[in-house]
Symmetry: C2
Subunit: 155 residues, 2 copies
Amino acid sequence: MKAPVEEAQRKLGEYMREHGLKHTRQRDQILEGFFSAGGHVSIDDLLGQVQERMPGVGYATVYRTMKLFAEAGVAHERHFKDGQTRYEPVIDDEHHDHLICTVCGTIFEFEDPVIEQRQADIALAHGLRVEHHRHEIYGVCSAPESCAHRAARGR
Amino acid sequence: MKAPVEEAQRKLGEYMREHGLKHTRQRDQILEGFFSAGGHVSIDDLLGQVQERMPGVGYATVYRTMKLFAEAGVAHERHFKDGQTRYEPVIDDEHHDHLICTVCGTIFEFEDPVIEQRQADIALAHGLRVEHHRHEIYGVCSAPESCAHRAARGR
DNA sequence: ATTCCTGCAAACCTTTTGCAGAGGT
DNA sequence: ACCTCTGCAAAAGGTTTGCAGGAAT
């Protein structure tokens, strides 16, 4: 099995070819930074990371590029409660939801077939067919030490 | 059983008394407009409505007042995907989530004990205690005529 | 009288857009 | 050569804040 970033490069390359878009150093760097960051990065996070390797890159480029990645299907846009858009890599079309610690900001991922099924049933009962959903659970760590630890090293 | 707006007046009055806040004509009007609108109103909706009775009221007042209502526990802030904050009345501390038609924007409410229970279990499995959650299902109406109908009369 | 509120305008923050020049095909 | 991208700065959209005058207690 390939590394996620390679699969994304392939997918993105295909999308760009189909749409007559161009391959640039910035897009390369942003894709790499995005995948190496792991997930749930904000535009600021990404810009900071990319500027280490390419000073001079501006916000506009990162915004435009992440929008492109989302359209090409290699990134998901997320809107949590901190008012900034965050992105996470799409891996093999898997789906998951989020569980967020309100003390330290740690984001866990979960997936539950029972909940998925109930959602479909509920939608159907109202005459709708599910397109997508947003499900975030907010809670506090019952293990404060690990929580505090993460908080200590910033977001 | 009292009308929801009366219960809200009571609750808000108590909150204001406890915090040494003042009773004003604007706050009265906004509360009334808010409850008569039914639910999921944006700041713009509310401002428009209140200005019919009190021209001259500004955005700042509505923003500040809705924030107050949320703190007093008579309104819930919601952030759907249209980029505007919406508010809905709190009725008897009931809880519900949302099902939204992406064609016409109609918002349905639902509540499911099975999902609630799964959420608690999932959080626990990750060592968290649930504080609150956000759960929105987006779908398309399988009955396009009713859907289109609602779309026709705006949002 | 005192303290809180209001309306206005300016500030803020995140995101988008217009433009001229740089860069990919 | 052509057309897309980039970086900058300005604009936009939603929300917050500072201030001086006005209202509630």
